[in-house]
Symmetry: C2
Subunit: 358 residues, 2 copies
């Protein structure tokens, strides 16, 4: 009896040590993520799903991400607040949605006449962009990371061709946010309408034009059936979504899981541009084949110039008396100038060359 009880105590002690070591090594985390998008929203929603799958696989199940779409949390534009307050551990959204709360968050999604996706990532990772973004999110107890790029968004669907600035006066267009403000400066009457009502609004002339994303997402809403003019983009040349992570949650993760998160978010961000390119090319082929009424149009130079000037004016206003905004705008403008000079002799020259051969 004595031997057995001593043994038993020793075994217990060792077993406890063993279990706690194992528990430490195997400690699992489940992060709850709130996304702005509805369930099964194409491309955007695939980005969070792929991210969650990869994180789980890379961590051998130690880190799980449970995604709640907008139908679940009912607050598509509440992601900032919910992650800040710790109601959710992380979020997937777009930084420019928070400009009403924190004006400097505007600059981290895409700016009119701004950088392309490749230029913007170069700015984030090599040109000080990540540091500036972190400076903006730090006081809100969150980390922000690039979360997926749509590429150049199309300039929108118009029922009438736009030939002069005159044609824009009083034109009712669905175009939200800062981009809408730029359009307003040149005479457009920007409105925001829920996605589910856009088609009817355009069909019944409640609005004259609508900006959405690009062929892949636009095709699903059916605009090609009721609008003939599809304009090229200028207002969101590289819309970058955003992963938000609550800082306290981040700090609880061990270094290896933080790195797994960091690399999985980084890959997800790149991957979304590639997915968008594929899906947009496929959808554009469909539109061309099945809706030959659709014509690609570019705004005339006069309109681009007016919008460019309006954008400059609004940026100057945003910088006025806001030292942080001024620094971010300056950083982006300098980076864009240097980066675009190279893009022009490389990618742009190449793409134009290809239109010269048959």
């Amino acid at each position: 009896m004595r031997i057995r009880s001593v043994l038993s105590a020793a075994v217990m002690a060792i077993a406890t040590t063993f279990a706690s070591t194992q528990a430490l090594a195997q400690e699992t985390f489940t992060l709850r993520l709130a996304e702005t998008w509805g369930p099964n929203f194409p491309i955007f929603g695939d980005t969070t799903k792929n991210f969650a799958e990869r994180v789980e696989k890379m961590s051998d199940g130690r880190l799980k991400v449970r995604i709640d779409s907008a139908n679940k949390h009912k607050a598509p534009l509440g992601v900032f607040d919910m992650v800040k307050a710790g109601q959710y551990d992380m979020g997937h959204s777009a930084s420019y949605y928070w400009k009403g709360k924190v004006p400097e968050t505007l600059f981290f999604t895409s700016m009119p006449f701004g950088m392309t996706a490749v230029e913007q990532w170069a700015w984030f990772y090599h040109g000080g962009g990540m540091e500036l973004m972190q400076e903006v999110y730090e006081p809100h107890n969150m980390l922000s990371f690039p979360g997926g790029n749509t590429g150049v968004q199309m300039g929108g669907w118009f029922r009438k061709e736009i030939k002069t600035l005159e044609d824009l006066q009083g034109l009712k267009m669905r175009i939200p946010g800062f981009q809408g403000e730029v359009f307003a400066e040149v005479g457009v009457n920007p409105t925001n309408i829920a996605p589910g009502e856009l088609y009817t609004a355009l069909e019944r002339n409640t609005i004259d034009a609508v900006e959405w994303v690009g062929p892949a997402l636009d095709l699903r809403l059916g605009f090609q059936q009721i609008a003939d003019y599809y304009y090229t983009g200028w207002h969101e040349p590289a819309t970058e979504l955003q992963f938000l992570v609550n800082k306290k949650v981040w700090e609880k993760l061990p270094a290896d899981l933080q790195e797994i998160m960091r690399i999985a978010m980084r890959t997800a961000s790149y991957d979304m541009l590639i997915h968008s390119q594929h899906a947009n090319a496929e959808a554009w082929a469909t539109i061309k084949e099945k809706h030959p009424n659709v014509q690609i149009k570019q705004f005339p130079k006069e309109i681009f110039q007016a919008m460019y000037d309006a954008n400059e004016k609004l940026l100057a206003e945003a910088a006025e008396g806001n030292e942080q905004a001024a620094r971010i705008i300056e950083s982006q403008e300098n980076y864009l100038n240097q980066s675009r000079a190279y893009t022009d002799i490389s990618t742009r020259a190449y793409l134009n060359t290809m239109t010269e051969v048959e």
Copy 2:
């Protein structure tokens, strides 16, 4: 004594179980990687270094990658053979280097008048490219993954301006591989010269022109001091490097470490384009400031058309009697056509728009 020895045996038994469980959980792997590049080769070498660091961090040290540069293994173009034979576990190189051994490897780096980086990744990940690449590498006991993109490579440095096809006749140019063959078809005399001798060869008119990579890497070789004409690219619009992994080595890795490898390689591949964009933009700004003699030139349409036709002819020859090559070429051409139609109305239209505003 008796109690102690029984206890001791029990402790030993439990400790052994504990140690072996821990050993299983903590089994570490060190992969030896041979890269084609010399030590500290900018951008390309950073790609493998960052990859190795991230893999180690994500796996909490369970997976290490030890990089041997060309000065160590002395076989920059032997990476394919060394990884195939298992002398190295993995490699970092470029698929088109192996076309002498396996003709179908040509298609996975970049093709003249081919896809841009974004289009090509879309082809790899959504258009069947990965499956075709794997089909080519499978018989050689290796897996191949995209390993980093340079973006559009510049068309080269010329000491005299090229105005007509006549100017290309007999022109001695450093341009290797399939791209050199295309140039040969239009009258150029392509040669390959070791990097260390390129500057002297160009200075002493041993060659008349040299193609290297882009501003960041070209600047270091000094061509801007002795050549005034810097031509835009057409021959390698999206040079994608390659990670090679020996299949037996891959299969020995547990699923979590395989996923860590897969995602780390994928991010490294994207990251290199972003790093290239940054470094090229910086170098191009330096060239413009310090070497105002350098002029950007584009080949005239007549020359592009001749090179385009030569490329088509060589591709037709490559497809002749080679079912696999024919399938790959067809897949790339179809994908390019669909993807470029969208690139033209998005990225190209946007970049051109921006040149219209002041």
